[in-house]
């Protein structure tokens, strides 16, 4: 029977602490590590954490060594010394009250300093981004730039970005582990968080998460952050701020009273016939350098779609017929499309420029998008998006959808959306 309960446990726990320090170094292996200095915010946090870890390790070692030493030295042995009734020792007890108190002072001072430093007002000239939480996706607005997008954030390196955090429904929390700490999105309240990505940070992709439990698809409320160079950011923002245009745009049906496809108008609309796609974080770089940022969620079994139809999808028909008949317009805004102004669902103006859909849950490609439109609730638990596919079973309403779109009509809508570069 092993007699010394902790003799082996303590060293292995110590080794684990050492491993923890190592864990901070790996980038590719630990792509969401909080140990890094990519921003001023996280540099401050990590400095504090290292101090906590240092003192924590010392206290851990002292306590566990004292404990193990005591139980070994004073284990019951034949002929060992008989215990005496010692009831306490004032000086000793004062000592082990005062020493921890002093250690806490050494932690408390930098803590309070860092609190005031990181919660100060953002420096002037910060890029303002409104973060609006929804069950279960993220809306991002750049009010100074006129950009509205979803689930994918672009931020220029070297410039402070200030997030204004609000929510349309329940509580959420905004967290990009590599950039710094999190901040909650509280209903009927506005919170703020700011950080400055280092100027020498390359064009990179990062994971973001919702970290306040918000219902069925809390786990599926993710987002991506792209830290890009200032010129890339400018190109991205300019394009994102422009109304929707799709390159394959033939003239809309003349009988249609509303023009679903907006034409770029105004003085500087020379590029209208061949619109620029601006800047988009390159998909190839995600696949080769940032695979952890690409969604991996498998499409749940039981959802079928005739993928052959996708090649023949007609974007114009998708715009004029599917987008209206499917009821998409009831929830989704597309800038430049008259009537498509609802803010219930994500803004789709430049949806084809995004790499993910559905709160970062799935890749944005034709087969996935088609299935998503057909039966979102089958693909994402609790999803508030209606079931669009005709004959599809709606797991929330617990009934089969008798209206809606057939596969061909969905293929048209997919073609339309993927043309919205």
């Amino acid at each position: 029977m092993p007699k010394l309960s902790l003799r082996h446990a303590a060293p292995s726990a110590l080794a684990a602490v050492a491993l923890l320090a190592l864990a901070g170094c790996g980038f590719t292996e630990y792509p969401n590590s909080t140990f890094n200095h990519h921003t001023d915010f996280n540099t401050a946090i990590d400095a504090l954490f290292q101090r906590l870890l240092f003192w924590g390790t010392i206290v851990f070692v002292v306590v566990e060594v004292a404990l193990v030493y005591t139980i070994i030295k004073y284990r019951k042995r034949p002929g060992g010394p008989k215990p005496r009734p010692i009831h306490g020792h004032a000086a000793l007890e004062i000592t082990w009250t005062v020493i921890p108190a002093l250690i806490l002072v050494l932690i408390a001072i930098p803590t309070v300093k860092t609190i005031f430093q990181t919660q100060a007002d953002a420096p002037a000239g910060a890029l303002k981004v409104q973060v609006i939480g929804h069950q279960w996706w993220w809306e991002f607005r750049y009010p100074e730039l006129g950009v509205v997008t979803a689930n994918e954030l672009y931020v220029p390196v070297g410039r402070t970005v200030e997030f204004e955090l609000t929510t349309k429904d329940v509580l959420h929390s905004f967290w990009i582990p590599q950039m710094g700490g999190k901040r909650d999105l509280i209903t009927n309240k506005t919170n703020y968080l700011w950080f400055t990505p280092n100027a020498d940070l390359g064009t990179s992709a990062w994971n973001g998460f919702c970290t306040e439990y918000c219902g069925s698809s809390h786990a599926n409320m993710k987002f991506r952050l792209y830290t890009v160079q200032p010129d890339e950011f400018a190109a991205w923002a300019t394009h994102q701020a422009s109304p929707a245009v799709f390159s394959a745009a033939p003239a809309p049906a003349p009988t249609t009273p509303v023009t679903p496809v907006a034409q770029v108008t105004g003085a500087d609309s020379a590029a209208a016939p061949a619109p620029t796609t601006g800047y988009v974080f390159p998909r190839e770089r995600l696949e080769t350098e940032f695979p952890h940022v690409l969604p991996q969620t498998p499409i749940p079994a039981g959802l079928t779609f005739d993928d052959a139809l996708l090649a023949g999808g007609d974007p114009v028909r998708g715009a004029t017929e599917g987008f209206m008949l499917g009821g998409c317009i009831g929830c989704h805004a597309i800038s430049g499309v008259p009537g498509a102004v609802s803010e219930i669902g994500p803004n789709l103006t430049h949806i084809a420029s995004r790499h993910t859909i559905a709160g970062g849950l799935y890749k944005n490609d034709a087969p996935t998008l088609a299935r998503w439109i057909k039966n979102a609730r089958h693909m994402k638990p609790g999803s508030l998006m209606n079931t669009i596919g005709r004959g599809e079973y709606d797991p929330i309403l617990k009934m089969t959808n008798t209206g809606g779109l057939d596969d061909r009509q969905i293929a048209d809508v997919v073609a339309y959306l993927l043309a919205l570069k």
């Binding site: 726990a13 909080t34 906590l52 010692i86 009831h87 007890e93 429904d169 999190k182 970290t211 638990p381």
Partner: protein, 632 residues
């Protein structure tokens, strides 16, 4: 009280002591303690099974073992079950069984109220647990943050079960707390001054005050939610401009003291075990008492450290941070005093002692990570990540559960008259110790490497795969450990080695009577002259040259007599409380009354009224019958 009543009445007491009815009608604190123990262990197994399913789903990325909805119900019920239905009632089992024995009393102050507390707990526990079998279990998290738990966002009956169930369970905790406070203040044996009370009773005493101060805030929070859900009030209705932080503040004003409600009884238990198996008095008794009180007191001033990410502002963050750091001081003192208790002692590695030592070692880790959270900027990287999950499991499993197991192995011989098997106990301890660390230590890493809490699935290649797999293996190990324990627990009742009245050479009053104790506890109420009366009796040499065990009690031979014979109360002429099922009936009325609300969800107004009024009639009728019938 029993000791003062006329003996003539006692002969009328029915002596039935076996059969189902004897348990339903019991008012004996020891039998009620035993009921608490069995029931809480059953809920512990249920909560553990839920954890097993949770960990299986998280073993690998993108597993489809359970659905998102089921997972959310599982983690909600795992937390709710472990906090309210397992750890708190396990502590209550020890309060019930031990407090009267440790202070030299024949029962608690209000034996029937005690039975009522138990039945409310059992029925409330069933009420909140059964829905998971029908996939309608609460799914808002054990913390139930508004507005997610309001009807607007949770329209099903799931949250109804939670809000009603917790409201009912609160009644049980409050009734018990008032009972134990009255018991400890009024029923101590002659000479049992407050500063001679055993440390378990002291820590329990502190916990009862925490209960009566912490439960009102959550009761208010739950009443608001209940009225929002059923009667259309707008306390948390965001469309009417409600501030959801109202719930968070009320919940954590309860929730943080609740942590100490869960841990202090375990601290008390190991403070009994460590001196016994070191053959030395508890080091720094006074400081241990004061630090316990200090922890309880400061525990009410730190609640908002659960809310550093909500944006309270730099000043509030700083204040709650400093208050939180302060708590580390009295807690640290306890750790060092326990080690000092063993220092220069004669340490025997029995199973209870191993669990007690493990508490010191493991709780220390939880305490250190707790100090890490106390620093708000660092906490912003840690809160709602797996690092926090690691932290509080080191506190609650490494602390509370280890302490409770120490208590179970220590007191099982007193309760049943037989030892738990030592060999199986060792297997249990080591599997438990290794399993616990394998489960929870890797969560420190996955959390600091960016894994959020309460997610039912995650993608591969995020740096979390290995840690999650290890944690799942650890949980399986814990399941095996628990199976060994259950086997031992059940088997030793009939097959264990017979234990005498004082099998461990312990010092306090409960060991001066036979095992299991007779229904009347003490044939003669003992007179106490020191903190360690049984050691005074058995090691009188310790008196020489020193004050009697650390206080100013009368030096010289102990007036205590060990009782070795068991009689019936009737034979000794000791009046005992009548057995009565009225408290159980009243408890049933309470639960029926509340459950009528469930029918409002389906607009069955007449049914709801019938059930509620029927339950109210049972409650009032039961109370009337109970209060108008004599105790003994």
């Amino acid at each position: 009280m029993a000791t003062l009543a006329a003996p003539a009445r006692a002969t009328a007491v029915p002596a039935s002591s076996t059969g189902l009815w004897s348990w339903i009608a019991t008012t004996d604190h020891k039998r009620i303690g035993t009921l608490y123990l069995w029931t809480a262990l059953a809920f512990f197994l249920i909560g553990g099974f839920e954890a097993l399913l949770i960990r299986t789903q998280l073993a690998r990325p993108n597993m489809g073992f359970v659905s998102a909805e089921t997972y959310n119900q599982l983690f909600t019920m795992h937390g709710t079950t472990m906090v309210f239905l397992a750890v708190m009632p396990l502590s209550a089992a020890f309060f019930n069984y031990l407090i009267p024995l440790q202070i030299g009393a024949r029962d608690v102050a209000f034996p029937r109220l005690n039975a009522f507390s138990y039945w409310v707990y059992l029925l409330g526990g069933i009420f909140i647990t059964v829905p998971i079998l029908f996939q309608v279990a609460p799914d808002g998290g054990w913390f139930g943050y508004a507005p997610l738990t309001t009807t607007q966002f949770s329209s099903g009956p799931n949250i109804d079960f939670w809000v009603i169930g917790l409201q009912v369970l609160g009644v049980s905790s409050l009734a018990a707390a008032f009972n134990f406070i009255t018991t400890i203040i009024n029923l101590r044996a002659p000479g049992m001054t407050l500063m001679r009370m055993p440390m378990f009773t002291w820590m329990s005493f502190v916990v009862q005050f925490l209960l009566i101060l912490a439960f009102p805030p959550i009761t208010v929070a739950l009443v608001f939610l209940l009225m929002d859900r059923f009667f259309g009030t707008t306390f948390y209705a965001i469309a009417q401009g409600a501030d959801p932080l109202l719930w968070q503040h009320l919940f954590w004003v309860f929730g943080h003291p609740e942590v100490y409600i869960l841990i202090l009884p375990a601290f008390g238990l190991v403070s009994e075990v460590l001196p016994t198996f070191s053959k030395k008095p508890l080091f720094g008794y006074n400081v241990m008492v004061y630090s316990g009180i200090m922890i309880g007191f400061l525990g009410f001033g730190v609640w908002a450290h659960h809310m550093f990410s909500v944006g309270m502002g730099a000043v509030a963050d700083s204040i709650f941070s400093l208050m939180t750091m302060l708590i580390a001081i009295p807690t640290g003192v306890k750790i060092f005093n326990w080690i000092a208790t063993m220092w220069a002692g004669e340490v025997r590695f029995t199973v209870p002692m191993k669990f007690a030592i493990a508490l010191i070692a493991m709780f220390t880790i939880g305490g250190i990570s707790g100090v890490m959270h106390s620093s708000p900027p660092a906490d912003l990287q840690q809160t709602d990540s797996y690092f926090v999950v690691a932290h509080f499991h080191y506190v609650l499993f490494g602390g509370s559960i280890m302490g409770i197991f120490a208590g179970i192995y220590h007191y099982y011989p007193k309760i049943t008259g037989r030892f738990l098997d030592e060999r199986l106990g060792n297997v249990h301890f080591w599997l438990n110790f290794i399993g616990m660390n394998l489960t929870f230590f890797p969560m420190h890493f996955s959390g600091l490497l960016g894994m959020p809490r309460r997610i039912y699935t995650y993608d591969a290649g995020q740096g979390w795969d290995l840690f999650n797999l290890l944690a799942t293996y650890g949980t399986y190990l814990l399941a095996i450990a628990t199976a060994v324990f259950v086997w031992n627990f059940v088997r030793s009742r009939t097959r264990g080695v017979i234990a005498g009245g004082d099998p461990w050479g312990a010092a306090t009053l409960e060991w001066a009577i036979p095992s299991p104790p007779p229904e009347y506890n003490f044939a003669q109420i003992p007179t106490v002259t020191s903190r360690y009366p049984l050691w005074d009796l058995k090691t009188p040499s310790w008196h020489e040259g020193e004050d009697a065990h650390g206080d100013t009690g009368t030096p010289g031979p102990s007036p205590l007599k060990e009782e070795t014979e068991t009689h019936t109360a009737k034979a000794l002429g000791i009046p005992m409380p009548y057995p009565t099922a009225k408290p159980a009936f009243t408890a049933l009325g309470l639960v029926v009354m509340f459950s009528g609300l469930l029918f409002l969800r389906n607009d069955l107004f007449a049914v709801a009224m019938t059930v509620t009024l029927g339950g109210a009639a049972m409650l009032i009728g039961g109370l009337y019958a109970w209060l108008t019938s004599p105790l003994e």
